[in-house]
Subunit: 161 residues, 3 copies
């Protein structure tokens, strides 16, 4: 009997295209019956932000408010790792995705949830960037580096994106 | 008896220096008798572009033509991930490579081919960026995320670059 | 009896935030009793630079001097992978780190040394960027891609950052 294969991805990047790659690999691995976890850390946390304004549970200091305002609110507002052209790049990529019947990032995230890909927000960097649970999507988990390593050390495919 | 070791690299980046790192690791692993595969996806596909203009097999729409024009045609025209200085950086790096008798990227790709490193172009992102087979190097393979995962799940070293 | 688990990280990036992520994962893995190695290559070598000016052992050519001057001297002077804002970003991140009682990069490196994380400088890229041993921190090791692969092929967690 084969043990279940495991895939873990650290999503550090806040780029639309890199997050797409992460979620395409994650969805592929889930379709292959891997147990899949995506750990969202640093700018990768923006993938999990809700797209509406959220009143934070605890009052934020000015630095946290500033980070909150400058970082993109959710997957659909993220920029590209290259050819961003002051925001034109993401529009082009989305047009290209539409034309080629490919799947845009917000739907890739939905697919991942439906396939039970575990979406984890890194609590240490949430704290650092001043992000609170209310600001992030529902149905995600919260953990730190120890939990990540616990999974990755038995992983077949471990990527840092 | 030891089974053959496997190394897989997802080359997502279109930066000259990151592609160098990918090919140096790949060539090293091949010299170590690993089975090595590089999956070129997104901007990493530019590494595999021919450096001459190619008349596409199928007519391209304007978005595909635009991507085709804006993306570097082949390994030798790619920029650096930092200190690019509007194109001066790559010239400096190439000068440095020459001075130190190191191997520039196009030759690293040749070496990889000679060592039977499998060079794979991701068909999904080829479609997305409007790249056609005629525009890419000869002797490469074409596959999607499923083929990648099939190899990576038995890989000893799996990297995302 | 379980064999010792191994974690290897290729630190290619010269960004403060990415280096933080690398060292946080490395320190976590060391606390988990993994054997941990960080291979610093390309811009990642800047993490290991001493912060004072160092008279090089061998005379440098102009290109090497130029690289030496343009690259940040040590972990504390590196920029961010995004929101760098001409150097304001790192100041903000460091202020945020201080406010949240998190650990800044130079201390993360100290912690790694205390936990016997093996810090390796890639000799090939040292040569390429004109960095000499005198310019790098004490108590580090020097090796090439073969040594990296020797460790990574038995690694449980292998990341490229």
């Amino acid at each position: 009997m084969n043990p279940t294969k495991k895939t873990t991805i650290v999503l550090f990047s806040g780029d639309y295209d890199k997050a797409m790659a992460a979620y395409i690999i994650a969805n592929g691995a889930a379709a292959y019956d891997h147990e899949v976890t995506i750990f969202h850390t640093f700018w990768g946390l923006n993938t999990l932000r809700k797209d509406e304004m959220v009143k934070p549970g605890r009052k934020k200091g000015w630095l946290d408010r500033m980070f909150g305002r400058m970082m993109p609110r959710g997957a659909d507002r993220m920029g590209l790792s290259r050819m961003n052209f002051a925001g034109m790049g993401p529009k082009m990529i989305k047009e290209v995705i539409r034309k080629h019947n490919a799947v845009p990032l917000p739907q890739l995230i939905e697919m991942a949830k439906e396939q039970d890909v575990k979406l984890v927000a890194c609590t240490m960097t949430m704290d650092l960037l001043g992000l609170q649970k209310e600001e992030l999507l529902e149905d995600i988990e919260y953990a730190g580096v120890a939990a990540y390593l616990g999974e990755a050390q038995d992983g077949n495919v471990n990527l840092f994106i």
